[in-house]
Amino acid sequence: MATTITKPETLVGKRIRRREDPRLITGTATYVDDIKMPGMHYATIVRSPHAAARIRSINTKKAAAHKGVIAVFTGKDTQKVGPVPCGASLPGLRVPHHHILAMDRVYFAGHPVAVVVATDRYVAADAADLIEVDWDVLPAVADPEKALAKGAPAVHPEWPDNVAFNYHQEGGNVEKAFSEADVVVKQRITSQRLIPTAMETRGVVADWRPADRQLNLYSSTQIPHLMRTLVAQMLGLEENRLRVVAPEVGGGFGSKLNVYAEEALMGFVAMKIQQPVKWIESRRENFLCTIHGRGHVDHYEVAAKRDGTILGIKLHIIQDLGAYHQLLTPAIPTLSVLMMPGLYKTQNVRADIVGVFTNCVPTDAYRGAGRPEATHGIERMVDVLAAELKMDPAEIRLKNFVTKEQFPFPTATGLTYDSGDYAAPLKKALDIVDYQNLRNEQAQARKQGKLMGIGMSTYGEICAFGPSPATPAGGWESATVKIDPTGKVTVMTGASPHGQGEETTFAQIAADELGVNIDDILVLHGDTAVVQYGIGTFGSRSTAVGGTAVYFALQDLKAKIKKFGAMLLGSDDVSFSGGQVICNKTGKSKSIQEIAAASYRAMKLPPNTEPGLISTHFWEPPNFTFPFGAHIVVTDVDRDTGAVAVRRYVAVDDCGNILNPLIVDGQIHGGVAQGLGQALWEQAVYDDNGQLVTGELMDYAVPKAHMMPRIESDHTTTPTSVNPLGVKGVGEAGTIGCSPAVVNSVVDALAPLGVKHLDMPMTPETIWKLIARSKS
């Protein structure tokens, strides 16, 4: 007779505290700067104070003679090192040769020109001050629109028009759509340059073992494996002689989804001096030299029928690329194009991108990477259209949404939206804010001359990057699951979490699948010597792609466990549950521990079965996933000062199945903070000469805890069919949904004054000027 086994509690879906947090909150985690090695040397990088200049000469004599300095290198020394790689390819893309140290010219303020290596970091910093560079300062251009103007200084003399690429994409019949329209609305919409500002700046330790021909590189990165492949090529080193470790990484937000000059440079230095070397980026360097995000000037046109039906969208993007292409620089705005229809049915779109060089640090992926721009654009335009047609912004959205029955839905930009019920989160959010009453309250407030705004955004995003043919470096992810002879479980993932909590969520998946205690599971990542290979953590992909790889590796392993269990139980009629293989006839069982021991001891093996319990799976996703949601923001604008106060922030997100609500909430909160930052405070400002004037946290305003509203977070759940976990990804959703909702809310507040649009950040002064203008 079959015995009933009580199914142990499942962990997936539970609010489990993050297993990585104890080491983080007790200050015992190991970041790059915590790495200490005998014989460690320290590097300081000398950088250009000018945005554009020729280097007449560099005098390194005094620095080299400084006590404690063991080496100084300039561009001449490093010119054989391969260029900083650009992983994006677009037809006709102009790619400047990006030396790791400047040769005879610098292209942005902060451009590295020399590196000083010394026995301690103080000596290195002192000696760096002794390097004399004779500059021939050249005119610079820091604004993409100015860079396109006739007669603008050429960032790269070989391309005097400053155009790096033109990109065109269209779907459907845009001209027809526009000719049939009752109304066409147009708006210029910008998405300003932002500084990612990870809590931990970048840092690299390089350790060369000459006898082994082995270079160990520790870097604060989101992509250890890709870095290994690329840095090995830059250094001309065999890839298997390079080990890259991403130790604890204190945030990245895309800024560490890159291969920078400093990684190859430290490798070069370590190989030259045959001693370990450390470089830690200062906050000032982080602002000047680590990629920035956004940098869009968009021109939108939307054609519609009088009833609000959107017929077509035209978009022209001017993308500020900066002086070089970092890993994905030119690819980022193409993501904006892919997502330009948002959640709406329209099948007629046309987009053009002009990628523009400027004398600024390159732009690249920053939380959302291309999708916040797209969402901001379409969600602003829908409001502009609603205002034009005097329609309610909720109504016009509901009218144009792709409907539940239309999935999988092919978009005009060539994507297939996996699953969705776009009206559901909007309706839920409207209920939470009690929309009708809120509008009544607003009408009352307006009568009293108060500026109260209600704004919404209904976003869709593309994540879980992604099918390999559609990604620059392969879009699969890998997992190895190994059960030790004593039954303990180790998961090795190719994802490289740095704050997202996969040490917890992946352990939840494994615990449920194997029916073991979560404390018996260890999740390892971020070391190329430990993990098979991997793509990394970015684009809200780790759980949907990396988690799925873990899931499939577990299925293989479970099959093997069952085989061993069947052999040990002497029966083919077995099932696996609760960490036991159970004979369905006798009810006898073997635990995972017993099975693991037997599999390694290998006294006897099931037919065609190898000893040991280990399984590796590389999972190639058949599609992206498309999370969505609705954010509603209520604001009050101070008529006297223009200051914006966020009264309510409601976020209803649908990221498919939720593995751990606590972690999902954390991602939403952090994402919204960065969205609010863009909407209200943050902007990287270069002056006309290419000086970054928001060069420190004293002038660059990231949101602080006391500036955050309470976030009322809720969810709808529409699983994806793309992966068996039904998860979509949530790392960027908060940011993507946020900024248009906030701007729509403030524009709504100012609507009685005739305001139709505001660019970000919506500073009190800008708003005050609009209020003042409406009075006169």
Partner: protein, 147 residues
């Protein structure tokens, strides 16, 4: 960054103009100027040390006078660079008689770069104004002491 303003000195335009063309007077009036050495017609090499609260930095640069229209206007270009960054000021000074003295109006552009530009944003305007004020105060006391 645009810089404009005016300052009144208690002596006539001819005197004010003449003084501001005199390298010795400039050396004593430019705040922090340690030396001014002629390198060409109306062009001088300058060493200066800027001290402002805790901030201190040595600069090397140039002062150049141009477009001279005595006694009513001239252009002054000041450039300096040092470890903490670089500054460049280019301004037109216009002298008009006022109550027995001279109103010197200045209108120009200032560029600041390097560390100073990045960290001193909220202070550059106030600091530039103070430096200009000090310049005219110094000019005034040089004049008084030369009487």
């Amino acid at each position: 960054m645009k810089i404009a303003g005016s300052y009144t000195v208690p002596f006539p335009p001819e005197r004010a103009y003449e003084m501001m063309q005199d390298p010795d007077v400039l050396a004593r009036s430019i705040p922090g100027c340690e030396s001014l050495e002629k390198i060409g017609e109306n062009e001088y090499r300058m060493k200066m040390k800027m001290v402002l609260a805790s901030l201190s930095g040595a600069f090397e640069g140039k002062v150049r006078l141009a477009d001279q229209k005595p006694p009513s206007s001239f252009r002054m270009v000041v450039e300096g660079s040092g470890k903490i960054g670089f500054v460049k000021g280019d301004g037109l000074l216009t002298l008009t008689p006022k109550d027995g003295g001279t109103e010197v109006a200045y209108d120009g552009d200032a560029q600041v770069g390097g560390t100073m530009a990045a960290v001193g944003q909220r202070l550059i305007d106030a600091t530039a104004k103070m430096m200009i004020k000090r310049f005219f105060e110094n000019l005034r006391s040089v004049e008084v002491s030369s009487r």
